[in-house]
Structure formats: C-alpha cells, structure tokens
C-alpha cells in the first residue's frame, strides 16, 4: 500500500486542503480558474497559486439553479452552487474562460451575484482564447496573454518578470514530466495504478500549489515503482472526454473487468501531454503550448489532430477499447462523441459513449452498459 497515494486520494476528495490554506497563510493569493486553457504558469509567475474549480463535495444545485436552467451543464451548476454557498470564499480571484457557453456565462452570473449578493471575490476576469489555430489567432492569443499578465500585475500589485515566468514554466514542466512518468508506467502490462486512482492524482494536483505537487509526485513515483496491479483477464481501456472528477464512476467502470490505463480527459492526462518550450520568448512558448496542445473540441479546426493523438494513445498504451464520457447538454463533447464514433468505425476500435450528469447517480443502467460493452469487446477479440 502506498502512503503518498492515500494522501493524494484524500486531497482529491476535498476542495480545500491544508496545502492551500498554508499557502494562503503565507500570504500567497489563490486564483481560481475553470478551464484547461487558462495558463497556470502566468498566474504562478505573478506569485499566486492557480486553483482549478471542481464540483467535488457538492450535493445539489439548488442555488446554482436560481441562475442556471435545467438545460445547462451540471458541472457548471454544481460549481456555481458551491460558489453561492460561499464554499470558494478562500479565493482571491477567479479567472473564467470562453470555453463553452455554460462555463463562460459563469463570468456573468458571478458578477451578478457579486453585485446583488456580495459574493466574493472582487477580482473576476474573463480570459479569452480563440477557437481556431490560425496565425491570426495565435497573434491574438499572444496579445491576450500579455494583457492577462498586465491585469494580474496591476490588480495584485505583482511584478511578473520574464525570469519569474521562466521559473514557473520550469516548475510546471517538472510537474508535467512527473505525471508523464506515471503515465509511462501505465503502459506496462501490469500497471502500478488504477485509472480511478490516477484520476484522483491528476485532480488533486490542480488543487494544490505546484511546489507541493512536485514533491508529492516525486514520492509517489518512487512508491509506485514496486506496485503492480494484476492485469490478468482485464481489458485495457482509454477514457476520453471533458471534465471528469467522479472517481467512483471510474471505479465502477474498472470493477466491470478493466483497467483504465490511459486517458484524454480535460481534468486528466491531457494536461501533462506536452511541456512548454523552455527557450525563446516565454510568453510565446506558453501561447504555443496552450493554443495548440490543449486539444479540446472547442477548437474548431483541429479534429484531425485530436483524432490522431487519440489514436496514438491507443497504440502506445495498447488499449482494447475507448470509452468517451460526456455530461448532459454539452454541445462540444456531444459533437466530439459523434465524430469519434465515426472514427471508431473507420479505424475499427470498439467505442462506448457514456452520458451522465455530474454526481447524478444512475449507476445501474451505466453498469449494464459498461459490462455488456466489455463482454462484447471480449467476444470480438476471441
């Protein structure tokens, strides 16, 4: 049994943790953010701790529903519900992103709640990323990153030097490398870690200061050297999708006779895929990494690339099947699911798409489907 893994799993189960409170006590500002496009390096270089908002621990969306409607994504409703319950009171600011329509409206709703109900914090910023990867978009994005740095500097009275940014890039790259190391181990026939556990690791790492993350990951890497999971008779699967934080859900999938050895989840392995270049203009390097490598269906002109990278993952990790995860009412992943389904027919890999509401139950039906899918994959293999 691995101690560090237990520590990390505990971290994943909660929204506030001692590392964050400690950082706050030391006077570091905590900045919440919503989406994988928000550059953590820049926030970090301004002396702050980026913290990804999660719905974990939320039971209902009662208050969130006073703003959002029943056809809005449950993740967003849960997170905003938590905000209205002052569960994010420890944040010094929130950065929103025009990721999807549901999430970007949180910028509006949060401001409204700030004005009408005094919901903190005061610093609410909209960070805008283009939807295409053209040169024009790149220039625009570069500009946005510079503006973002300026805003942080001004509002928090911080000095965001090139050197600081270079350091931040280095340490985030270190975190990425460590995560990649773990992923590398998952390629083994007997991986050291379950997919559910790995998701816990990945989610926890976005809720603590990066320095602590690196320490924990280093220990975890050592501890996992000798851990092996018996993969005998289990299918190797890859998960793809947007935000995913329900660890029990992956446990359920794995309990049907599989190990999730790889993922392309927004809150998962995709963040660690590619490092930021450590030479040249650091802002440009960050821009390049975030515009071209986040690999999200909100980018309209790069499905081929996304599909190719998924195909590569499936080959590298020798997976038997793909499971895609989407939340109800998500246009972006709905469309992506359809495209992946076509690709699965073209390339001949089995694929199952699951739709769920965040913390929404319905396990019985889901289990039947997953189990039948695994039985089907085995039938096809034999």
């Amino acid at each position: 049994m691995s101690d560090t893994l237990d520590i990390i799993k505990k971290l994943a189960e909660k929204d506030v943790n001692e590392y964050i409170t400690q950082a706050a006590d030391e006077g570091r500002k905590i900045l919440g953010y919503m989406c994988s496009f928000v550059p953590e390096e820049i926030i970090h270089a301004a002396g702050m701790v980026p913290y990804r908002l999660r719905a974990v621990g939320s039971k209902e969306t009662r208050l969130g529903d006073t703003y959002y409607s029943a056809i809005n994504c449950s993740l967003v409703r849960h997170i905003f519900d938590k905000a209205l319950n002052s569960e994010f009171a420890f944040l010094n600011g929130v950065v929103f992103m025009n990721g999807c329509d549901h999430a970007r409206r949180m910028y509006d709703n949060w401001r409204n709640a700030f004005q009408t109900q005094g919901l903190g914090p005061e610093f609410l910023h909209m960070f805008v990323a283009p939807h295409t990867t053209s040169e024009t978009s790149f220039q625009r994005f570069l500009d946005e990153l510079r503006d973002f740095s300026d805003v942080l500097e001004k509002h928090f009275n911080a000095a965001l030097t090139t050197e600081a940014l270079q350091n931040s890039i280095a340490i985030y790259n270190q975190r990425r490398e460590l995560l990649r190391g773990l992923n590398e181990m998952r390629k083994l026939p007997e991986p050291p870690i379950f997919g559910a556990e790995m998701l816990a690791v990945q989610s926890a790492m976005t809720s603590i200061p990066v320095e602590n993350a690196v320490d924990l990951l280093e220990q975890l890497t050592i501890e996992l050297q000798n851990r092996r999971i018996d993969g005998e008779g289990k299918l190797r699967i890859v998960l793809a999708g947007g935000a995913m934080e329900e660890i029990e859900h992956i446990q359920m999938i794995e309990s049907c006779g599989a190990i999730a050895v790889a993922d392309n989840l927004c809150t998962g392995g995709r963040r660690a895929d590619v490092s930021v270049e450590e030479y040249g203009d650091p802002i440009a390097a960050v821009a390049k990494r975030y515009l071209y490598e986040v690999s999200c269906p909100r980018m309209i002109d790069e499905f081929d690339k996304r599909s190719a990278s998924l195909e590569k993952i499936m080959k590298d990790y020798r997976t038997d099947a793909l499971i895609t995860e989407k939340l109800m009412f998500c246009d972006l992943w709905g469309g992506e699911n359809f495209l992946l389904k076509q690709e699965s027919k073209r390339l001949g890999f089995p694929m199952l798409s699951l739709e769920r509401e965040m913390y929404g139950g319905g396990e019985g039906q889901m289990r039947t489907r997953v189990q039948a899918f695994f039985e089907m994959v085995r039938n096809r293999q034999s």
Partner: protein, 266 residues
Amino acid sequence: MISAGIDVGTRFVKACIVKDGEVMGWAGQDVSRDIDRVIAGVYKKALEQAGIKKRQVKKLVSTGYGAKLVKKTSFTMSSDRCAAKGAFALDPTIRTVLDCGGLFLTVTAIDEKGVFERALSNDKCAAGSGKFLEMSAQAIEIPFSSISQYAELSREPYVISSNCAVFAESEVITQVNHGRNNTDIIAGVLHSIAGRAATLFERIQAQDNVALGGGLAAVPAFADRFEQMTERKTVSLPMPPQNFGAFGAALMAQQGDPFKEGSRRK
C-alpha cells in the same frame, strides 16, 4: 351571491362553492378518462355538501390545466392567479404562494393588496412534481397517506438527482435492489422535490409570508423539508391546500370584471 370555482388540474379535479366570500362546500376527485363525468360529479358533490341547488349558483369560473373543459363558465382564469387569490383571501399577510400540483410547481408573488405581481413555473421536466412523488411511493409500495411517517424514520435520505421522473423512478428501484431502506428513498424524493420548489422560490425572490398550496402541500414532510431548506416558516391556512385554486376561482367569480383587477398596464 353564490359562486362556484372548478379547478381541473393535471391530477385532480376540485370544485368549491362560495357564498359571499365564505366557503360552503368543496370536493375533489382524480381525473380519469371520462373527464366530463368527473367534473360533473365533483361539482355535484360540492353542491350537495354546500346544500345548494345548481341554479342558485350565479357564476361559475374554471381554472387549472384543463380549465377549458368546464362548460358554461363565465370565464377561465390561470391557476397561479387563482391559488394566490384563494390564499390571500384566507390570510391577507400572504405575499407568496407556492402551488405544488401534479405536474407543475408554480410560485406566485402578490402585493399587499393581493394584486398579482408575477409568477414562475418549474422547468419542463417532471422530476420536481407531485406525480414524481406518487410514482416513487408506488414503486416502493408506500401508501400515499403514510409518506410522511416513512420519511420521518429516515436517517440518511438518498437524494435522487436525475432530471427525469421516469428514470428517477428506475433509480429508485435500483436502490431498492441494492438494499436501501424505502424510508431513505422516500425522504430523498421529498428532498429533491422540495429542493426544486426552493429553487423556484429563490428565483422569484419571494417575500414573507408564504403559503403552500396544491396537493403536495398536504404532505407534511414535504412542507417541513421546504421550510428547512428555505429557512422560512410557511403559514398554515384553514383550508386544505389542494383547494386554493378552486376557492380562488370562486372568489374571482364574485367580482365584476376580473381582468381589470390587478391590471398592471399603465
């Protein structure tokens, strides 16, 4: 003057006879295929209870989802307004009426003169309705009248979050199969319906005092949960809440031109 109100809801038909603002009699019955018979029957029962002949009724007003099915009415009126009218007549301190019916939750805000201000209904999905409670209770074999008793016994309500009433029901069944107590489940169902009612309540930015109307309000455990969630007390009125709509309609009938009253147009 004697007037009558008939509320043809999604689940029940209710009738109420009023004489000069006083209730004389009322009756209610499940809707069924032969709706005309049901309406006639309910009306007749209410008249009998009031001891009044049909021809003595000067004016008849209908309300509710199927208001148009009632024949020979003076006019029809929307149910949110009738429920508010009824509740306000019983207690003029009331500013908000939450009508929890078979398929719709409606919240109505009124001003200090009882004039309608605004109303809101729940989102189109049935998981926050009386019907859902009935279906769940049926699925786990709890008689409707004992729902409150069962819910009180629950220590750990299992909250069902599915948006769909039918799927929520199947989740209920799955949970039963997993050995969960039916007390926890019914408490969870009540919790989720009350949650939706509370959201609606928040949305309209309701003022005190609050009255609960509709068939669901007759379930004490529901009202309790609702109060807990919103941290407000609701006023209990001297009439079964399911009857507010029909009562309000009958009161409307007593007035001259109902559309002028409370008109907000400048």
